[in-house]
């Protein structure tokens, strides 16, 4: 008796369906690594350094200890958890003269902590801009006209001073 030949051909039509499913999955979950930019303007180098006292209500002192912690006016915050500098920026902005944010850091403070702090300052400034826009004009900052934006931006002005503290 002759054996019947078995057909070993595989149906490849399903491949396309499976690939489509996988393709859609990866298209949905894909995020491309984006590079962000933090801009900074340095003051020109001068030989004669100005010294003078800055009013206490105009200055916000921040200390970075190199362990992802930041000391804000006597209170320690972990940089990995949410914290806010909005009230502090509002406090220094209330002064008629522009405020001063002084970032004190140790020589071995990692760059990551420094970038996180600058980012936090930038974010909190944006939150404060929105708050003031809502309080005075009843709108979000982004929806204001350019002249109104300028008025609000003028109210939140501060300079960042960086200071490297020698390690103990």
């Amino acid at each position: 008796m002759k054996k019947r030949r078995i057909n070993h051909e595989t149906d490849s039509g399903v491949f396309a369906d499976v690939s489509f499913l996988l393709l859609i999955f990866f298209m949905v979950v894909t995020t491309f690594n984006k590079a962000y930019e933090l801009q900074q303007s340095l003051p020109p180098k001068t030989t004669n350094q100005r010294s003078g006292k800055i009013a206490k209500d105009r200055i916000l002192s921040l200390y970075l200890n190199g362990k992802a912690q930041v000391l804000v006016e006597g209170e320690i915050f972990d940089q990995n958890y949410a914290y806010s500098l909005v009230d502090e920026i509002r406090r220094i902005s209330a002064h008629p003269k522009p405020g001063v944010v002084k970032i004190n850091m140790l020589p071995d403070t990692p760059y990551k902590d420094y970038v996180q702090l600058l980012t936090q300052l930038k974010k909190d400034k944006e939150i404060l801009l929105d708050q003031i826009a809502q309080e005075s004009l009843g709108k979000e900052f982004t929806f204001l006209e350019s002249t109104q934006k300028k008025q609000i931006l003028y109210r939140i002005k501060y300079t960042i001073i960086e200071n490297e503290i020698p390690a103990l």
Binding site: A35, Y36, E37, L38, Q39, Y111, Q116
Partner: protein, 145 residues
């Protein structure tokens, strides 16, 4: 005159190439996919020597890379050396640019996350003394709210 009508032929599209295209797209997305991470503690800064593709710098800009993974950890445009030799490296690059009538406006800094701030501050001081006062830190942490 009775013209004989041509019989209608069904239009067939050859779909044989379709799975190949899909596979190609699939592999592309499989390779480029990074799963989104919402944890603030996992701030990832670019590995300093592998970020040329993301470069935002123009022809008048200086690109400074500081890496923590190689011995010669400083790269100023094309010149490679150590952070301790930053003064010479920056001067070398600026001289070369000056010869080509290029005057630097801005410095783009690509720095590994665990680099100590003393190294960063040293380079900032060098830039300040050379009157390059605009600095841009390039990082991966989402800062736009």
């Amino acid at each position: 005159m009775n013209i004989p009508r041509k019989p209608k032929k069904p239009i067939k599209i050859n779909t044989t190439a379709l799975p190949d295209i899909i596979f190609m797209l699939l592999f592309f997305f499989m390779v480029t996919t990074t799963m989104q991470n919402q944890n603030m503690s996992d701030l990832e800064l670019p590995a300093a020597f592998n970020v040329q593709a993301k470069s935002k710098a123009g022809p008048n800009d200086l690109e400074i890379f500081i890496s923590s993974s190689v011995q010669n950890n400083l790269k100023v445009n094309t010149h490679i050396g150590k952070v301790e030799d930053s003064k010479q490296l920056i001067a070398l690059e600026l001289n070369q640019m000056k010869k080509n009538s290029i005057f630097v406006h801005r410095a783009f800094m690509y720095i590994d996350e665990n680099i100590k701030m003393s190294s960063v501050n040293k380079i900032k001081e060098e830039l300040q003394s050379l009157n390059i006062l605009k600095i841009s830190y390039i990082h991966n942490y989402e800062s736009e709210s």
